[in-house]
Symmetry: C2
Subunit: 322 residues, 2 copies
C-alpha cells in the first residue's frame, strides 16, 4: 500500500484509532505502557481496527466508541506479535528493534499477556454475548495457528491444504472477526453478518498470501525485513510448497536443500526456481481468486463510502504482490 494508498483517505480514522490505542493502555504499572507503546507505535497499518470501524459504519453503527472498541483487534494482534518475536528470536521487525531485544523475553511474554487481557477487558464493555463468543473462538484459533506454524517449521512435506489451515487461523480469523463484529454492532441480519465475516476471511487470506509472496520479491526497505526471512525462520509458504510440488529429480533435490538451509546469497537461486516453475505466479493467482471472493461477498451491500473503501483496500492489497 504505497503512495496513493486508500489509507491516506482514512487518516482521520487512523488518528482516532491511534489515540484510542494509547488511551486504553493505562495501567497500574507504567512499564507496561512503555513496552506496549513500543510495539503499538512502531508502525503498522491498523488494518484490523480499520476493518472493524468500516464494517460497523457500513452497517449503520456510528459513534466515537468505535475507535475504542476497535483497539481490541490491534491489541490481540500486538500480543501475537510480541509472543511471536520471542518465538522467532527476532531482533528486528519493520526496521525497528524488537521489544524482546530491548527488555528481554521475560517482560515481553508478560506484556503480551497483559495486552490479551486488555483486549478481553475492552470486549466485555459490550453486552452482546455473541461478540464475546466470537472473540474467544478467534483467540483460540490464533493460538492454534501459531502452534501449527511452529510444528510445521522446516517441514518440506507441508501441503497446500495445511498451509491454508495455518494462515486462516493465524491471520484471516482475526480479520474475519473484526468484520463480523462490526456487522453485529450494526444490528445487521445474520446473512449480512456472515457475508462480512466471509469478506474478512477472504481478505485476510489474500493479506497473508501477499505477505508471503513479498517475502520473496519485496525489498528489505519496503517490508522492513530481509528477503526470504520466512524461509530463514523455517516457515514454508505457498510459493515454495508449489515449487517443491512441481519440481522433480535434481531440481527438487537442490530446491529442497536450499529451502532447508537458506542463506542470504542463495536467494537469487531460490527465486530462479520459483520463476522457472511459475510458483510466484501461482501464488498470485490464488491471491487474485481470494480477492474476487472477498469482493463478491460485498455484493449484497448497497453502495456506500465504506464499501468503496473496502473494495479499494482489496485492490490495493493485490497490487502489492505484482
Amino acid at each position: 500500500m504505497a503512495r496513493a494508498s486508500v489509507l491516506n483517505k482514512l487518516e482521520k480514522e487512523i488518528a482516532e484509532i491511534n489515540r484510542a490505542l494509547g488511551d486504553n493502555l493505562h495501567t497500574h504499572v507504567p512499564f507496561i505502557s512503555q513496552v506496549g507503546q513500543h510495539i503499538l507505535l512502531s508502525g503498522g497499518k491498523r488494518i484490523r481496527p480499520l476493518l472493524f470501524v468500516l464494517s460497523a459504519r457500513m452497517c449503520g453503527c456510528r459513534g466515537n466508541h468505535l475507535a475504542d472498541f476497535s483497539t481490541i483487534f490491534e491489541y490481540l494482534h500486538a500480543a501475537t506479535l510480541l509472543h511471536d518475536d520471542v518465538v522467532d528470536a527476532a531482533n528486528v521487525r519493520r526496521g525497528i528493534t524488537t521489544a524482546n531485544t530491548i527488555w528481554g523475553n521475560q517482560a515481553v511474554i508478560l506484556v503480551g499477556d497483559f495486552l490479551l487481557a486488555k483486549a478481553l477487558s475492552l470486549a466485555v464493555t459490550t453486552d452482546k454475548l455473541k461478540v464475546l463468543q466470537i472473540l474467544a473462538h478467534t483467540t483460540t484459533l490464533m493460538a492454534e495457528g501459531e502452534i501449527l506454524q511452529l510444528l510445521h517449521q522446516r517441514n518440506l512435506e507441508l501441503t497446500e491444504e495445511q498451509y491454508f489451515e495455518v494462515i486462516i487461523r493465524k491471520t484471516a480469523a482475526l480479520m474475519a472477526a473484526a468484520c463480523q463484529i462490526g456487522a453485529i454492532l450494526g444490528g445487521k441480519p445474520e446473512a449480512q453478518e456472515d457475508s462480512l465475516r466471509q469478506f474478512g476471511l477472504n481478505l485476510g487470506i489474500t493479506y497473508q498470501l501477499v505477505d508471503d509472496i513479498l517475502d520473496f520479491v519485496g525489498d528489505a526497505q519496503e517490508l522492513g525485513k530481509p528477503v526470504i526471512n520466512d524461509l530463514k525462520e523455517g516457515r514454508i509458504t505457498l510459493p515454495i510448497i508449489n515449487a517443491l510440488a512441481r519440481t522433480s529429480g535434481a531440481d527438487r533435490e537442490r530446491l529442497a536443500a536450499l529451502a532447508r538451509e537458506p542463506e542470504p546469497d542463495t536467494a537469487p537461486e531460490i527465486l530462479a526456481f520459483l520463476d522457472k516453475y511459475g510458483s510466484l505466479d501461482y501464488a498470485r493467482e490464488r491471491a487474485r481468486w481470494y480477492t474476487s471472493q472477498a469482493q463478491a461477498n460485498l455484493n449484497s451491500f448497497p453502495d456506500s463510502a465504506e464499501k468503496a473503501y473496502f473494495l479499494a483496500i482489496t485492490e490495493e492489497l493485490l497490487d502489492r504482490s505484482s
Copy 2:
C-alpha cells in the same frame, strides 16, 4: 496439606475436576493437548477450581456443569505457570521436568496462550456478563502481578506494601474471582458475593504467604523444589523484607549480600538471620491474621458442608507454615 488433609474428603470433586480438565482440552491440534496435559496432570491441588465449586454449592448452585466451568480457573493458572516457567528458565516444578525443557520456550508460550483462550471460551458459555467482566479484570491483574514481580527482581528496597501489591495480583485475585463467581452463579445478593470475594482474597494472600515461608523452611521433597528457590530466582519475599528492615550495620550488609547472590550452602546462614530477627514468625503472624479475616468473611453464611470445608482449608493452610 499432608496426610489427613481435608482434600482427601473432596476426592470425588477433584476427580470430577480432573475429568473436566482433560475433556475440555480437545483441540484441532493434538500436540496442544499433549503439552497441556503435561502441565495439568503433573500434580497440583486443584485449589482454584475447588474454591469455585465449593463457593457455588454453598450458594445453592448445583449440577455437573460446575466441574466444567471450574476448569477456567485451573487453565488460567496453568497458562500463568507455563509463561512463568519460561520467564524463570525453570527446569523443574513439583519435581517434574518443566514443559519448556521438553518442548522449548516457543511451544510453551503458545500453549499458554491457547489455555488462556480456552479459559475465555469456557467463560463465554455463561450468559452472565458480570462473570466475564470479573474474569477479564482478574486476567489483567494477574499479568500486572507477574510483571511487577519481574520488575522487582533482586530489588532489596522492596517494601512490604509492594510485596502485597504483587501477591494480591499474582495469586489472590484469581482465588477471589473463583469464590465471587461461585456466589454469582448461585444468585446470591451482592453483600454475600462480596463476602466470598473477600474470603478468596484473604485465603489467597495466606496461600502465597505460606508458600513463601515454606520456601525457607520446607524441604525439597515436600515442596518439589529446592529450598530458597525464590531468592535464587530473585524474588524478595516477606521474610527477607522483614529481616532487612530489622537488621542494621554488619548484619544488614551480610544479609543483603546473601539475598543478592544466594548459594545453596548459604541457606543455613540466611535461615539463622530470619530466626535471629523473628522474621519467619512475623510472616506467620501475617498469615494468621489473613486467615482470621478469611474465616470472618464466612460469618454471614449458615452452616453447611461447604462452609466446613472452607474453614478446614483455611486452618490446614495455616498449619503448613508452622
